[in-house]
């Protein structure tokens, strides 16, 4: 028997190409104002850490993908990427 061993799903949600990122832009200009040079672009996204009970990796991936499609990302403007850390 495998001992109880939770799994961590890391989800990155970012704006799709072609969708203007006003927050990223605002941060970019704030960085410029603070005197940080050499920054050519800033994008802001969301980062979720979801702790799952033990389950097969395939199942976990499928489950988290479904969560993203349904709730976590707004697929009209956002795309997502899932990484599993056992």
């Amino acid at each position: 028997m495998v001992p109880f061993h939770p799994m961590l799903a890391k989800v990155h949600i970012t704006l799709k190409n072609g969708v203007l990122d006003p927050q990223g832009k605002a941060i970019h200009s704030a960085l410029n104002q603070l005197g940080f040079e050499g920054v050519s672009n800033v994008n802001l996204g969301k980062y979720l850490e979801i702790t799952l009970d033990t389950m097969p990796e395939m199942e976990a991936k499928k489950k988290v993908r479904e969560m993203c499609e349904k709730l976590l990302a707004n697929t009209v403007i956002e795309s997502y990427q899932i990484t599993l850390v056992p």
Binding site: L20, P22, A26, K70, L71, L72, N74, V76, I77
Partner: protein, 230 residues
């Protein structure tokens, strides 16, 4: 005319719109709790403003899965009149009843102030009481009202007359300066193709009580009444 006002946890303009419908226009008005599952018998359903579920994750994202939403979707698909104001608009786009998405304001800040709107389409039950081109002064109060849709969607929406309000200056000119939040094409309110569902960021219920001098919001409610009785 029977009106229902949906209460999500975190709705906070629910009382305002209830007050206008019931006390100012004398309409039969009832609360609908988000855990209810039926909208039978309503001639108008309003998704009010506020911060459903704190607007956590994204405005409207969690409310869209409230138990009542299945009934809301059925009701809309059956042709029922559905008005989403502010947070209600956000719920409508999240649920797919209206196209596009509402993102954070360009200024990154919450904005509460009166704005001017140009009516782009009077051929809807929500606006038939006035003429396209009319200028209305109605307040906005939101942090995520920056409307986005991809160019193709925008094109279809324009062709189908789905764009109902645009932000403009007091003279009616739609310009970058009169865009409070960065919305694509200054869009402030849109309808579905069938025109029975309207979502708008400005709050007509905030300027519909005769106690105030600004009453432009009455147009929406008067139009709905007119269309119901005609």
């Amino acid at each position: 005319m029977n009106c229902g006002v949906v209460v999500f946890p975190g709705s906070n303009c629910d009382h305002d719109v209830y007050h206008i419908l019931k006390h100012v226009f004398g309409l039969e008005t009832k609360w609908v709790w988000h855990k209810d599952r039926s909208l039978k018998g309503f001639d108008l359903v309003v998704l009010p403003g506020g911060f459903s579920y704190g607007d956590y994750l994204r405005a409207g994202a969690i409310a869209r899965f409230s138990p009542i939403m299945d009934a809301v979707i059925n009701y809309a698909e059956g042709g029922g009149r559905l008005l989403g104001i502010c947070n209600g608009f956000q719920v409508l786009v999240e649920s797919g009843l209206l196209p596009g998405a509402l993102m954070r304001n360009r200024s990154q800040k919450f904005i509460c102030k009166p704005v001017h709107l140009r009516l782009e389409n009077h051929d809807t039950p929500f606006t038939l009481g006035t003429q396209s081109g009319a200028i209305l002064k109605i307040p906005v109060a939101h942090a995520e009202g920056n409307y986005f849709a991809d160019p193709e969607t925008l094109k279809t929406m324009n062709e189908q007359g789905q764009i109902v309000f645009r932000y403009c200056n007091p003279e009616g000119t739609v310009s970058e300066e009169s865009n409070p939040n960065g919305s694509s094409e200054n869009i402030a309110g849109i309808a579905n193709t069938r025109k029975n569902v309207l979502g708008m960021m400005p709050h007509p219920e905030r300027c519909a009580d005769p106690l105030w001098r600004d009453r432009d919001g009455q147009v929406i409610f008067k139009s709905l009444i007119k269309s119901y009785y005609s």
